[in-house]
Symmetry: C2
Subunit: 406 residues, 2 copies
Amino acid sequence: MVEAKIEFIPEGSITSPQGFHAGATYAGIKKKVKDGLDLGILFSEAPCVATALFTTNRIKAAPVVLSQQRLQEGRARAVVVNSGCANAFTGEQGLADAAEMADLVAKGIGISPEEVLVASTGVIGLPLPMKLIREGIDQIILSADGGHELARAMMTTDTVPKETAVAVSAGESRFTIGGVAKGSGMIHPNLATLFCFLTTDAVMDLDFLKLALRKAVDISFNMVSIDGDTSPNDMVVLMANGLVGNDPIWQGSEQAEVFQQALDQVCIYLAESIASDGEGASKLIEVTVSGAPGVAEAKLAARTIVSSPLVKAAVHGEDPNWGRIMSAVGRSGVEVVESKIDLYLGNICLVKSGCPLAFDKQEVVKALGDSKVLINLQLNLGTATATAWGCDLSEEYVTINSQYTT
Amino acid sequence: MVEAKIEFIPEGSITSPQGFHAGATYAGIKKKVKDGLDLGILFSEAPCVATALFTTNRIKAAPVVLSQQRLQEGRARAVVVNSGCANAFTGEQGLADAAEMADLVAKGIGISPEEVLVASTGVIGLPLPMKLIREGIDQIILSADGGHELARAMMTTDTVPKETAVAVSAGESRFTIGGVAKGSGMIHPNLATLFCFLTTDAVMDLDFLKLALRKAVDISFNMVSIDGDTSPNDMVVLMANGLVGNDPIWQGSEQAEVFQQALDQVCIYLAESIASDGEGASKLIEVTVSGAPGVAEAKLAARTIVSSPLVKAAVHGEDPNWGRIMSAVGRSGVEVVESKIDLYLGNICLVKSGCPLAFDKQEVVKALGDSKVLINLQLNLGTATATAWGCDLSEEYVTINSQYTT
């Protein structure tokens, strides 16, 4: 591997890489306005190679269908995003509306509609308010520091925008990766999450770009669960405009490993941000399962624990009810041998070789009160490890979701 | 089929069939006492053929391991049950404690310990307080109308006991089936639920008894979900003491179909009771999926919808957010064609052939306010149907489960 450095950029955003511009407006699609933005555009001044991963939900939103078609050639130059309406379960009209959104953006910027992707998030089953969208798109002003605006325009029940960027030096190459994500409820991604856009100014080989995105998503967004509900609108897009003019990065090239590491870091940062800001969440839960027979088993066990409503509720109430963690791993379908299991909460060992240990209750309650609760389960059956992220289950989650459309 | 009548017995219980006796006491195992009972015994004055289904959780509680062994010969005569402590994840000591519970009951009644099953429910990972259990078993008085007491002794977060019985006449035969169940949280049965005991005074062939129980459980308890968490203690036991002296009922005999119908009715009644009384629940949700390509698909779709926290929260808040039902069926893994789907809430059609219909919001809110909310999804792809039961997700569910051990 070449000598490399990966540094997070203070206040980095999706427009930190060279040549990416963004902007947003309040078009009036969201009824309950937060931060006043609900429609945004991301644009690259140079053509990009691009790849994406989409939801595995069989009910696919119109913008997912459209963006999936347009990415078949591996090229894209702009994304238009709205919150407040998911344009999902909207039939032929939904597809026509998504196409019109792309057309309007293409005309405004002066590029081909085929280069524009569309993403929508919000209530399912309602038609897009196209009058508001037409007027809104006209008002958006793109700028090289517009990334923060785009991050706010994507939010629904999110309480904070989720964005970051890293500056990478790898041998002679210097490039930047930026990312923005949203997601707070209906989060149990299965290939992607609702949404994440990633940009880089590096020159990238498309095949490697696809591979790198899949790898990064598998250990980041695919390991987040807030409520077990996979959305019909999930998408993660990665666009590379090549403006730094480095030697192309392809699988096997010197910089490939560094690029992968940097992309992993951006995706994990954003995945953790999504989990921390889960609907009603007061803390992040990070579950690491090690000693599994294989990576698939480690992932399944970690995701099952972090998704268990009973584990999540116990963490919320700072209740040292660790038996629920054992019950969750037991039902995950993964091989377990009770007498081999070790369980740690942060640094506190609760179970060793299947034997519950006496613990200082106040110390355990304190660890459960941290803003990041670390659960570490060692199966002692193999060498594979995986980490999953989630959040506590609070009364507020229920309140938010019992009044979402009313 | 012979001429048959199946009638629910007013205030029927597990001791309604001839020759079954039960009793319970407060031993002090449960800290938060509700109805003052936490230890009970069920006993048949005649030997029984018996069969059971147990949890598929790989962490199996000690009483599950013990009862599973003892039922290998298809015989049992008594069950001892406690609430307040699950005796799960308790290692060798847990197995010894479960065996001692059975021994004490066997000695008290004067039967072989091999004929005694054990069931425990409550907190996972704590040892059984054997001193309290020894003293408690001594105090229990068995009687022919003790079924109601046993039902109360099994409750943890349950707010009401769940019990019923049916009187069956089939041609010349008269027999009774009784049942009692508990379960309020950690309910997502996968072979059985935590707990159900069933009794009958009919003379039964063991092979048919096994078959009948599996069939009844598959369409009742296995179609209930409260929170997606499968417990390590789940068990459903069916005991037949033959005291009415009918011709043995075997697969293919005249009464087999009536017995199956009666057993199904008892199990569905108890499954619905469990779903209605889910932790924090204010209403029952019944989801029927029809027009599926196969029964497995219909079941998977119905269970996925009834388990979705977002559907459950919307029903709780009486929010007509039907898009979440579509999202849930879309992620269930079952084949769906958006343009073929019909969706009904009670009698109100919300979606026809994939097209959202205009609806009277007040009427929909009213239907969501019923104590039993009926969701009917027609896939229009085949002829298979399945029904699943669950409950709404309330703030109270979180409150209960964030303070379970503290």
